[in-house]
C-alpha cells in the first residue's frame, strides 16, 4: 500500500530565505505525487504534481518540487519565502493504477516570520 511521510510537524523560516518542506513516499510502481496547501478554514489548494518527465517540477506561487526516485523523496521548495506562505502543506501520493484516490501525509506547518 502506498504511504507518505512528512517528518517535520513545523518548519520555521525568515521571510526572504529559501524554504524546504520534506516528503518521502512509498508506492509500488511509478508514483504520482502532489503537493497541496491549506489555509485556515479553507479547503486544500493544488500547488504542483509530478507524473513523469523532468525531476524538477514548477508550480503555483513560485513553489517547486524535486522528485528523487533513489531517495523516494519529493521535497517542496521555494527560493524566497513570503509571510503569506505561512500555511499547512500536505504531500500526497496516488496509485497510478487506482481511481484518483490520494494518500496524504500528516502535514507540515510552515511559519514564515517577517
Amino acid at each position: 500500500a502506498q504511504s507518505v511521510a512528512q517528518p517535520e510537524d513545523q518548519v520555521n523560516v525568515a521571510e526572504g530565505n529559501p524554504l524546504t518542506v520534506k516528503c518521502t513516499y512509498s508506492v509500488s510502481g511509478n508514483p504520482y505525487l502532489f503537493w497541496y496547501v491549506q489555509y485556515p478554514n479553507r479547503g486544500l489548494q493544488f500547488l504542483l504534481k509530478y507524473i513523469t518527465g523532468d525531476n524538477l517540477v514548477k508550480g503555483s506561487y513560485g513553489f517547486e518540487a524535486e522528485f528523487n526516485k533513489s531517495q523516494t523523496s519529493f521535497h517542496l521548495k521555494k527560493p524566497s519565502a513570503l509571510v503569506s506562505d505561512s500555511a499547512l502543506y500536505f504531500c500526497a501520493v496516488r496509485d497510478p493504477k487506482g481511481f484518483q484516490k490520494l494518500v496524504f501525509g500528516t502535514g507540515t506547518r510552515l511559519l514564515v516570520s517577517p
Binding site: G43, L44, F46, F90, Q100, K101, G105, T106
Partner: protein
C-alpha cells in the same frame, strides 16, 4: 466559474444522530471524492463516486454512505454518529482521467457532542 461548493459549512450533532453533507462539483467535473480530515491529521479517503456509483472506497465503516446524482452533485451520509466522527469533511471533484488534479471544497466541519 464556481469551484467545489459544500454545505453546510458547520454543524453540530449529538451521538447516535445522522448527518447529510452536500457537494456540488466544479463545472465540467464528473467525479466526486470525499475525505475526512480529523484535527491535526491529513485527509483520509472515504470513497469516490463516478457515473452515480461508488467506484472506490477507503477504510471506513458502512455507517458512511454516499450518493451521486445525475447532475454529478453528491451527498455523504453518516449514521449513528460517534464522537470520533468529529472532523472536517472535504469534497473533491475531478475529471474522469486518472491524472487529473483534484479540486477541493472548503469543507463541512462536523462536531459530534
Amino acid at each position: 466559474d464556481a469551484g467545489v461548493t459544500q454545505s453546510p459549512t458547520h454543524l453540530i450533532k449529538t451521538r447516535g444522530q445522522q448527518v447529510t453533507l452536500r457537494c456540488s462539483p466544479k463545472s465540467g467535473h464528473d467525479t466526486v471524492s470525499w475525505y475526512q480530515q480529523a484535527l491535526g491529521q491529513g485527509p483520509q479517503f472515504i470513497f469516490q463516486y463516478y457515473e452515480e456509483e461508488e467506484r472506490q472506497r477507503g477504510n471506513f465503516p458502512d455507517r458512511f454512505s454516499g450518493h451521486q446524482f445525475p447532475n454529478y452533485s453528491s451527498e455523504l451520509n453518516v449514521n449513528a454518529l460517534l464522537l470520533g466522527d468529529s472532523a472536517l469533511y472535504l469534497c473533491a471533484s475531478s475529471g474522469a482521467s486518472g491524472a487529473n488534479v483534484l479540486t477541493f471544497g472548503a469543507g463541512s466541519r462536523l462536531t459530534v457532542l
